[in-house]
């Protein structure tokens, strides 16, 4: 019975191709817009989440700045402040990363002296920086404790830098590099190398970053001022709470008078992600509502065409009843037809939406990710639309008086 109804439905849809297509259009537009937006949103979220987690989802960016130009009064993170912070929240923090950029300059080898140079950003970092920023050495090691304490001229370079200047990472170890920043020449001994990773839009270009100990940088800058650092939460679930705690702690220490000009922030990437997906969720709801209206209009179209189709086939219904069809059998036939009509519309809509979504995602420069939930949900929903809007016309057909139906011209 079900197979026969499916055959009948398909035959009826095929017999009126243009009309069926126009009827499906509302469903197609509704479903395809939902799927397209969902696909773009999904791709965007996934790409952002991946890029953020490569930065460290547990990271909390802490900083301070002033709203007005009252320079000099701006607080900085002093040694004792940092120690106090570690004392208060040390158990929930796995690392604190501080960096202080010396500047951008030109680097060249002192040994080969073949004139090869490359541009680098010289960045003084503390011991926690490497962990906080997911930088791992592939050769040599991070700085020794003494290097941090004494501010020695040692450096960790990227693999790309090593290949450009020394030919390979292995050859670079122990070599001396001369860096020229604003005509201040400094030489450093290479003690380690890290793997360059291009992590897309969010990451800094680590290929050009030339790491030196924080103290070394501070000596060159003649300043120990720290305006910002990265704290890494031990537990990612805690990062939102920890960022709030760090902010209120620093507010108390650095800005006890609650000067409105001074802004202290502690933002966790987790909270960025949460914020972003919340926004995306709101956009999705808005789109879903618009699509819902499109589907409502589409559904009314289906109801309309089913009513027309049933009127046209009144004699057929009469004949079926004369041949012994019970009301539920007639009802089932037309409900099936409405559901199949909507299902076809839904499938076309999904195909169209996925293509549009993937096209838009690649246009925005993200790898496309199709949400299977939304695909299955849409197909299911389109069937529900068919059931809902096909019910009333099918009921009308089922309740027809057989003689009146047979006599219908």
């Amino acid at each position: 019975m079900i197979i026969e109804n499916l055959k009948l439905a398909l035959a009826s849809i095929k017999a009126n191709k243009m009309r069926s297509f126009l009827t499906m259009l509302g469903i197609i537009i509704g479903i395809s817009s939902v799927i397209a937006i969902m696909t773009v949103g999904n791709s965007l979220t996934k790409a952002e989440e991946e890029s953020m987690s490569s930065m460290g989802a547990n990271n909390i960016m802490v900083g301070v700045y002033t709203e007005s130009d009252t320079a000099g009064e701006m607080p900085t993170f002093k040694e004792e402040t940092m120690q106090g912070l570690v004392k208060a929240y040390g158990k929930r923090i796995s690392a604190i990363g501080i960096d202080s950029q010396v500047g951008t300059g030109t680097a060249r080898s002192q040994v080969s002296n073949d004139g090869k140079t490359t541009s680098v950003t010289v960045d003084g970092v503390n011991s926690g920086y490497f962990k906080a920023n997911n930088v791992t050495t592939i050769k040599g090691s991070t700085f020794a404790k003494g290097a941090y304490e004494n501010g020695t001229n040692v450096a960790i370079i990227s693999d790309l830098f090593a290949e450009a200047i020394f030919g390979s990472v292995d050859k670079a170890m122990g070599q001396t590099v001369e860096i020229n920043v604003d005509n201040n020449y400094t030489t450093y001994t290479v003690v380690g190398a890290y793997k360059f990773e291009n992590n897309g839009t969010m990451g800094t270009k680590k290929s050009t970053v030339f790491y030196i100990p924080l103290k070394t940088a501070q000596n060159q800058l003649h300043s120990t001022d720290v305006y910002g650092f990265t704290a890494v939460a031990k537990n990612s679930d805690d990062s939102s709470a920890l960022s709030a705690d760090i902010m209120s702690y620093l507010q108390k220490i650095l800005n006890p008078d609650n000067d409105e000009d001074i802004v202290i922030y502690a933002d966790s990437l987790q909270s960025y992600i949460e914020e972003a997906s919340k926004m995306l969720g709101q956009i999705t709801i808005a789109i879903a509502m618009i699509a819902g209206i499109a589907l409502l209009v589409g559904g009314i179209g289906v109801m309309n065409i089913m009513t027309v189709s049933i009127t046209e086939r009144t004699r057929e219904i009469g004949t079926r009843k004369a041949l012994g069809a019970e009301n539920y059998q007639i009802m089932l036939q037309f409900v099936t037809e409405a559901i199949i009509l909507c299902l076809l519309g839904g499938i076309i809509g999904v195909a169209l939406g996925v293509s549009l979504g993937l096209l838009a995602s690649s246009g925005l420069g993200y790898p496309g990710t199709v949400s299977m939930t939304s695909v299955l949900g849409s197909v299911g929903f389109s069937m529900a639309v068919g059931l809902f809007f096909g019910y009333a016309p099918a009921r009308k057909a089922a309740k027809m008086n057989p003689i009146d139906a047979l006599r219908y011209e």
Binding site: E4, L8, R320, A322, L323, G324, N327, Q329, P402, L406
Partner: protein
């Protein structure tokens, strides 16, 4: 004949037994119109009966009632001894399916559906398996000489061919009675004779009870009994 009251069944050799059937349209309104004024009818198993009357005589109304497509306003109607007045609509649908085979003047084949599927339809509603349906449909189409065109849809068939498919469909569930309403009305006389020949064969070879509704005395003369109906009443010839 013995009628058992209360039990709503009668012991009778009749396939159809109608008593004092009255059909009134628009009852209780200004346009109240009595079409049938008390019809008494008894059709025995294996009879080939014709009901003859002019248009407007009430023969179509009578056929609708006999075919369980409509109910009488009053009177009793027994089919195979069962009281049809007492049967709910659902039961009437089942009896139409199993016990009655309709043949209409305008064929009423399902459009866009091929001959074999049309013949299968009553068996589909009866709940037969696809295989059983197909076997029986082929057998019936063979009987009416349509086995070579069973894949054709109605719009690919001539009037006579359509009516032959319709007769095969009427026979699908081996009904107790075939109700043929002006089955040759839309056909030329040669094709009409061919269709009548099929009815004769069904009557003689299959021992079918056939009720032929017609306005043509010539066609009626071919049947074993003629019932004349005029102005809603059965009249002597």
């Amino acid at each position: 004949m013995q009628i058992i009251n209360g039990n709503r069944t009668i012991k009778s050799p009749s396939v159809i037994h109608a008593e004092n059937i009255i059909k009134t349209y628009n009852q209780g309104t200004e346009n109240e119109l009595e079409i049938l004024h008390g019809i008494n009818l008894d059709i025995k198993r294996g009879e080939f009966v014709s009901i003859v009357g002019q248009s407007g005589s009430g023969k179509s109304t009578l056929m609708n009632i006999l075919g369980l497509l409509d109910r009488p306003t009053s009177g009793s109607y027994f089919m195979n001894g069962q009281d049809m007045n007492a049967a709910p609509d659902k039961a009437l649908a089942r009896i139409r399916n199993k016990s009655i085979g309709f043949v209409f003047q305008n064929y009423n084949l399902i459009a866009r559906t091929n001959g074999i599927s049309n013949v299968e339809l009553p068996m589909l509603y009866a709940g037969l398996s696809p295989r059983a349906r197909k076997e029986r449909a082929i057998e019936l189409l063979h009987m009416v000489g349509m086995e070579n065109r069973m894949d054709h849809t109605p719009d690919e068939l001539s009037g006579g061919q359509k009516q032959r498919v319709a007769i095969a469909r009427a026979m699908a569930n081996d009904p107790d009675v075939i109700l043929a309403d002006e089955p040759t009305g839309a056909l030329d006389s040669k094709t009409g004779h061919m269709v009548m020949d099929i009815f004769h064969r069904l009557h003689e070879e299959e021992k079918k009870t056939i009720i032929l509704i017609t306005h043509s005395n010539e066609l009626a003369a071919e049947t074993s009994r003629i019932i004349h109906i005029k102005d809603g009443e059965i009249v002597p010839a």
